[in-house]
Structures are given as structure tokens and as C-alpha cells.
Amino acid sequence: MKWLRRAAAFALIAVAALGLLAPVVAPYSYDEQFRDAPDAPPRRRFLMGTDEIGRDRFSRLIYATRISVLLAPAAALASVIVALAVSGLVKYGVSGLTTICLSLPWIFLFIILRAELPLNTDPVMSVALTFGLMGVAGWAWPARVFSASIAEIKQSGWLTQARAAGVPGPRIALVYAWPHLRSVALAQFRVLVPAYILSEASLGLLGLGVPDPLPSWGNLLRDLQHPDIVRGNPWVLAPLGLLMLVMLCLELTQSSREVAL
């Protein structure tokens, strides 16, 4: 199944590259309104047609890919770093902290955050805050996994030997413990990336998350609330297709990795 893993990895790179090169690849700007062609069907001028206010769906999808695919890994990285820091540095009560964090109604906290943000906040800043909060808020689940791994490491013979030999704590953590934790951290990172992509999509459907006119997979999927739009132009489903492709590829690369491990 090596070829499948490679194909999945290639597809992920291609999608990420598409997002990164959005200004070059996209035929129009994501916010350019063609008022003479609202709700236009796919044709040469607009490959996937236009949305309700005449913006090119293809261009918006490419720019949306940049936001959704690139910011989700950044948020996942933040979660893993916070989780590792909490699990490694806090000696007592990590389990209680994670339980409290997991029981918080995050969706409402997002609504409050959106309501309390200054109204003139730049859309890019708003996006950064959304993903930033996702990243910081999402530490609890990986922290539980890390805590279990760290507890296991603490009971290992090599750690006792290292301590007896007088190896300083930071060196133990970086040189001896980190190689044991790395694969766990990587697995958690891989799990969080698709989770954040989906979370952003869910927030977008609620009108939270990435503010218009900036496109994201989440706010593009809001069109699915209107079956008439889907019926008139099946390309409205393209963000959904891309989302599913990325999720599948992440799953394939992850599964292969797990098998390899």
C-alpha cells in the first residue's frame, strides 16, 4: 500500500501548493464582484460558475484552500506544543485540567469571542484569532495522551539510570524522552489537522470563523444550506469534495504511518 500512501501525500502537497499559489493560479480575486453574472453557471469565463453576488467560485475555492489547509496545521501545531508543555511541566492536576477544558462549551465561547472582538478588526486578524483560539483551546485531548506517555517514561529503567548518573532534567527531556514522545506528538498532530479543518467548516456554517469576503471551505459550504443553489450548480459541492479528499489523504498517510510504526 506504499503507492497509496505516496499518492495521498502527493495529493496533499498538490492541494497545499494550489492554496499557496492562489494569487497566481486563481483567475480573479476572491472578492471581485461580476454584477452582470450573479449565479452564473459554469462556463469558460467562470469555470465553476459564480456565487449569488457574482464572485468566481473557482477563484474563491483556491483562496479558501489557502486559508483552510494552511492555517489548520498551524493551529494543530499550537495545540501539540501547548499540550506537551502542560503535560511536561505541570506535575499535578493535568487530568482535572483536561476534564474541565473538555467540558467547556466552546461553540458559545466562539460566539462570545466574535461578539466581543472590535468591529473594525481586520478580517485577516479575525481569521488568525479564530485559528489561534482553536489551537490554544484544543490542547486538552493530546495532553491526556502525552500525560499517559510521560507517566510511562517516568517508570522506565533508563530514566532512573539517567537520573542516577546526574543527567540534568532538560537534557533528559530533550535528548532521551523526546524521541519516545515524537511519534505520539506526530500522530496527535495528524489527528488534529483534519479536526480543525472540520471545526472551521462547522464554525463557517454558523456564520462564525472566517469572515466574508475572505473565503474558507467553511463559509463556502454555507451555500449548501440552499438546495436551490446546489441544484442549479453542482460545482457548489466542490469545497466539500476537496475537504473529503484532504481528509481521506490525511487518513491514508496516517494509517500507513501507523502500520509502519
Binding site: S202, Q225, D228
Partner: protein, 560 residues
């Protein structure tokens, strides 16, 4: 999937009845929310053989069946069909017609009205309807403890009127000063029986006979309703009306197109186009509705707003320029698919009597808008407009999240204003946060909202225009009017309450509309069209743009 996704999704799953919930529950579920959900909704059970039952939907359970507590649209929809009123305004002719009162007299220069009830009136439970029922109903509406939303209509600046039964069929209502529309306001007061029941008896054409929460309400024909047709046949013609509680408009539309319901009282433009395509004989577009969509700037001295920004918003030149840069035709054509009309002012062109016919919708003129801004000290540099002190002209527009037409209008306006160098941030907020900002914290720059007018008489909008009112949009609860034109609007509005002559009131309202057009404290955008669907099998329907649209003459509707 990790906890975070579940945390984001689980609360939404609780909303499973709504279309948004289906969408929010993940992209795959989103697919099912539309046509599949509509298909999945099984056909409705057929009514009993031989009965003439009309079917339509409302979006949720009514909070009350009490005619004095019709506080939201679903309760209002039921109340419109069941309420027995003293007089009724014919929604087509705008004339007052007798209902439970066979006649009435206005005395003391509009201070007093005397109603004479018909003989032999009964509620739907067979109990007699007398003058005492009318007195008790009105006193209940006026009782502050009752907190009836309709009570305000019958109060005046001088307090509440004296209400007396002067005979078994005669009622006298006396105000201290002339009361505007003293006869017409009784179109809204449903007379209630003395006995309170969960499903109250009614004096209107139908009464609530069955209610299954979250499922449907059955309204049965009132056997004691007084009205008959010219052939002496007792009204209403229909045996019953089944009102389905259906939050999903797609399912409502699918059922209508399958012939399982006969009426949709209000259609969105997309759904209307589908009805036009699939059942053209059922689609009705009555033109511009009474409901305006509008934008306004916050002119109140809010702590988070710099003084230079407030200076823009309090400048009529600035407001005119913004208004002049907006392509209202595009708003109507793109956002409402051509089913809207550019608005000319606070009163819709559909409101034939009250609209000031000298007003015309503003035609977009970005070049003219920029010129007037430049004459006021603004300059366009590098694509960005700056005021005379060098501040970049940038502001935010808030609107309620989820209201797609308003969000779309805001996006088009954002683009229109960018062409004259003004940067706009569009911020959709959940409704609670939006109301908090525009009425309490006043922490916002501009807002887009709209009205759903319940009556054609502009006196209903008085709380919107009075500067001292908490609902006054651009500066709620002003201690005193900030400008002479605001003082004049206050004066004209207050005159409305004590002027009994409609013609005099019309002149005052014409002046008010002219002032609003000159100053544009509120920038009117469009009046969406009133769109509805009535199956060809329904006869006798004469829908009007004035609420309750299709149902104002419900007793005359019949099914063939």
C-alpha cells in the same frame, strides 16, 4: 475526530429540527439537509373524506393563543385567523368594514367612539358575546400587569381611555384628547371570552380545536360565526385549517409542490422562482411589500467612537454620499433576484395612502457622491478616502448573522463604497449581540436591519422616530433632539397621536418623509416584494401586501 470537533458539533445536533443543524452537523449531513431532507419528509396524512381542509405551515409552536398576547409571528398567524374583531380594515380598499360591531359613531372631535354590537353574537363555544366581553377585553389589554403588546395601541399620551358598557350591545370608549385612527385600531383587538381555556373560544371565523406541540394545530370552523354570503350561506366556507409546524422552508415548499399544502404565506425569492417554474399558476408576486430594509449610522456619543468618526456620521453630506454610492438596483436584482424595489423612504410605495409620491428612490451616482465628499473636505488618495484631518474613512456595518439577504446587501454595499475609497468591514453578529450593541452599548458604526410592518398606518413606527424612544435607531433615548430637523420629526410624530383627521395626518407624514429624505438619518435600501403561493384549488383568495396578506379574508376562502 477529536473532542474539539465534538464540542463544536454536539450543541448543534440539539438543533436537529432545523436545517442549519443538519448542515452544522458536518458536510455530509449538509447534503441531506436540502432536497434529500425534503424527500425524506413523508407525505402528510390526507384529511377525512368530504371535509374541506386547507393546509399551510408556520415555522414554530405559537407561544400563546390569547389574542392579547400575539407576541411573535407564529402566534400572530393563528391570531389573524381566529380573532373576532369589532371592525376590519379591508386590505384591498383600505376602508373600514363592520365585523362584530354593526355600526359605530365617533364623537367629541375624535375623543370618543361608541360601538353597537350585532344581535345574537356568540363565541365558538356557544356562549354569548356581549358588550361586557368587549369592555373586559379592552381593559385587560390596557392593564399594565397584563403586559399585552397590543395595549400600547390603545393608550395615549394622556393615559388610558375610559371604557364603559352603556348597554348589552353598546360600548363607549372615551379619550381625554382626540385619538388618531380611533376606529381603525380596533381592527387589531380580538375579543376574548370570560372563561380562560388552554384552547380559547373565539369570536372569529375559526377556533383552535386541536394542538399537537411541534406537529400541527387544527383550526375548526366556528359554527356560531355571524357572517353569511349573499346567498345566505354561513361563513367560513372551509371546514378546517391544518397549520403544520415546520421550521424547514424546503420541506414546506416540497409539500406545497406535491400538492399536500395549498398555501405558503411568504416565500423567499429562490423558492418563489421554483414555484414559478413548477407551478406557475400558484405563484403570486404582489410587488413591493410594506417592509423596508435600511442602513443607518450610529450618531450617539459612544465611548468607543472617536469624535472625528462621529463627525462623519452626523454630517448629512457624508450620509448622502454613502447613500448616493449605493446601487439599489443591484441590491434588488442580485440579492432579491429581481423581487424587490429600490426604496424611496420610510414608507413603501405599496402603502398607497401614506407614501409621499414626490419622493423617488436615489439613483446611484458614485462620481457625484465623491464630488460632494470632496467639497466637504474629504480627499481620495491612493484609493483611500481621507477626511480633512487625514483619517482614513473606514467603518464597520453590523447585521444579523444568518440573514442571507442582509449579509449579501452588506457585501454589495462594501464593494460600492470601496469605489469611492471607503473601506467597510461587514460583521454579521448573532441577534442577541447585535441588539445589545445597537440599543445598549452603542458600540458600532453602522447597521443594516429591516422591518416587518404589521400595519399600513405609520403611527405604528412612532417608537422608531421619536428621539426619546429607546428604539430610535441612530441615537436611542436622546435627552433632547440634537438638531432642529429631529425636533421637527418629534413634533410631527407626536401630532399624529392626537390628530383625528387622516388627511391632516397625511400632510404631516408627507413632511416627515421629506425631512428623512433630506437628512437621511436612515438610508433606505429596498422594499422586498411580497411573494406567496396559492394553489389554484383555493378560491376566494385576494392577498394583500398588508398583513395578514392571504388570510385577511380567510372566511371567504374555499377549496375546489
Amino acid at each position: 475526530m477529536t473532542w474539539f470537533v465534538y464540542a463544536a458539533l454536539l450543541p448543534l445536533a440539539a438543533l436537529a429540527a432545523g436545517p442549519l443543524a443538519a448542515l452544522a452537523a458536518g458536510p455530509l449531513a449538509a447534503l441531506a439537509a436540502g432536497p434529500l431532507a425534503a424527500l425524506a419528509a413523508g407525505p402528510l396524512a390526507a384529511p377525512a373524506a368530504g371535509t374541506k381542509e386547507l393546509r399551510f405551515s408556520i415555522t414554530g409552536d405559537p407561544k400563546s393563543f390569547d389574542p392579547l398576547h400575539l407576541e411573535e409571528s407564529n402566534s400572530q398567524s393563528i391570531g389573524d385567523i381566529t380573532s373576532g374583531v369589532l371592525v376590519k380594515i379591508n386590505r384591498l380598499t383600505d376602508k373600514i368594514e363592520p365585523e362584530l360591531a354593526e355600526s359605530w359613531e365617533i364623537k367629541d372631535s375624535g375623543r370618543t367612539i361608541v360601538f353597537h354590537l350585532r344581535a345574537g353574537l356568540k363565541f365558538s363555544d356557544g356562549s354569548p358575546l356581549t358588550a361586557n366581553d368587549v369592555v373586559r377585553t379592552l381593559n385587560r389589554a390596557l392593564d399594565a400587569k397584563e403586559a399585552s403588546p397590543i395595549g400600547d395601541t390603545f393608550r395615549s399620551a394622556e393615559g388610558i381611555p375610559e371604557v364603559h358598557a352603556t348597554g348589552p350591545r353598546d360600548i363607549t370608549i372615551r379619550y381625554k384628547l382626540p385619538k388618531a385612527g380611533i376606529d381603525r385600531i380596533f381592527d387589531q383587538l380580538g375579543i376574548t371570552p370570560a372563561s380562560a381555556a388552554k384552547l380559547p373560544a373565539s369570536a372569529g371565523p375559526f377556533f383552535v380545536s386541536e394542538y399537537r406541540q411541534g406537529d400541527y394545530i387544527r383550526l375548526s370552523r366556528n359554527p356560531y360565526y355571524w357572517k353569511r354570503d349573499s346567498a345566505g350561506h354561513p361563513l367560513p366556507y372551509l371546514d378546517s385549517i391544518r397549520v403544520d409546524i415546520q421550521q424547514n422552508h424546503d420541506i414546506e415548499l416540497a409539500r406545497f409542490l406535491r400538492g399536500e399544502s395549498q398555501v405558503i404565506n411568504r416565500l423567499e425569492p429562490e423558492s418563489f422562482d421554483r414555484v414559478v417554474k413548477e407551478k406557475p399558476a400558484a405563484a403570486r408576486n404582489l410587488g413591493a411589500s410594506l417592509d423596508p430594509q435600511f442602513l443607518w449610522f450610529n450618531q450617539a456619543p459612544a465611548k468607543n467612537m472617536p469624535e472625528w468618526k462621529r463627525k462623519w456620521f452626523t454630517s448629512a453630506t457624508f450620509r448622502h454620499a454613502v447613500s448616493g454610492a449605493i446601487h439599489r438596483d443591484d441590491l434588488a436584482r442580485i440579492v432579491y433576484r429581481g423581487h424587490a424595489h429600490p426604496a424611496a423612504g420610510p414608507i413603501s410605495t405599496a402603502n398607497k395612502f401614506w407614501f409621499n409620491t414626490s419622493l423617488k428612490p436615489r439613483v446611484a451616482d458614485p462620481a457625484g457622491a465623491l464630488k460632494s465628499l470632496e467639497s466637504d473636505g474629504f480627499t481620495l488618495r491612493g484609493g483611500m478616502l481621507r477626511d480633512r484631518d487625514g483619517h482614513a474613512v473606514e467603518f464597520s456595518i453590523v447585521t444579523n448573522a444568518g440573514n442571507r439577504p442582509r449579509e449579501r446587501m452588506a457585501q454589495l454595499i462594501q464593494d460600492d463604497l470601496l469605489k469611492i475609497g471607503i473601506r467597510v468591514n461587514v460583521v454579521p453578529l448573532d441577534f442577541g449581540s447585535l441588539v445589545e450593541r445597537i440599543t445598549k452599548t452603542l458600540d458600532y458604526d453602522a447597521a443594516i436591519l429591516g422591518f416587518s410592518n404589521v400595519a399600513a398606518d405609520p403611527i405604528e413606527e412612532m417608537s422608531f422616530w421619536l428621539s426619546s424612544s429607546p428604539q430610535h435607531p441612530w441615537w436611542p433615548s436622546e435627552k433632547s433632539p440634537a438638531t432642529t430637523w429631529e425636533a421637527r420629526i418629534d413634533e410631527l410624530e407626536l401630532k399624529q397621536t392626537s390628530e383625528s383627521s387622516r388627511e391632516v395626518r397625511k400632510k404631516e407624514m408627507d413632511e416627515m418623509q421629506r425631512i428623512v429624505a433630506e437628512q437621511e438619518p436612515v438610508i433606505y435600501l429596498v422594499n422586498p416584494d411580497y411573494l406567496c403561493a396559492i394553489a389554484p384549488s383555493v378560491k376566494g383568495a385576494e392577498p394583500s401586501v398588508a398583513p395578514p396578506q392571504i388570510f385577511w379574508n380567510v372566511e371567504w376562502l374555499r377549496l375546489e
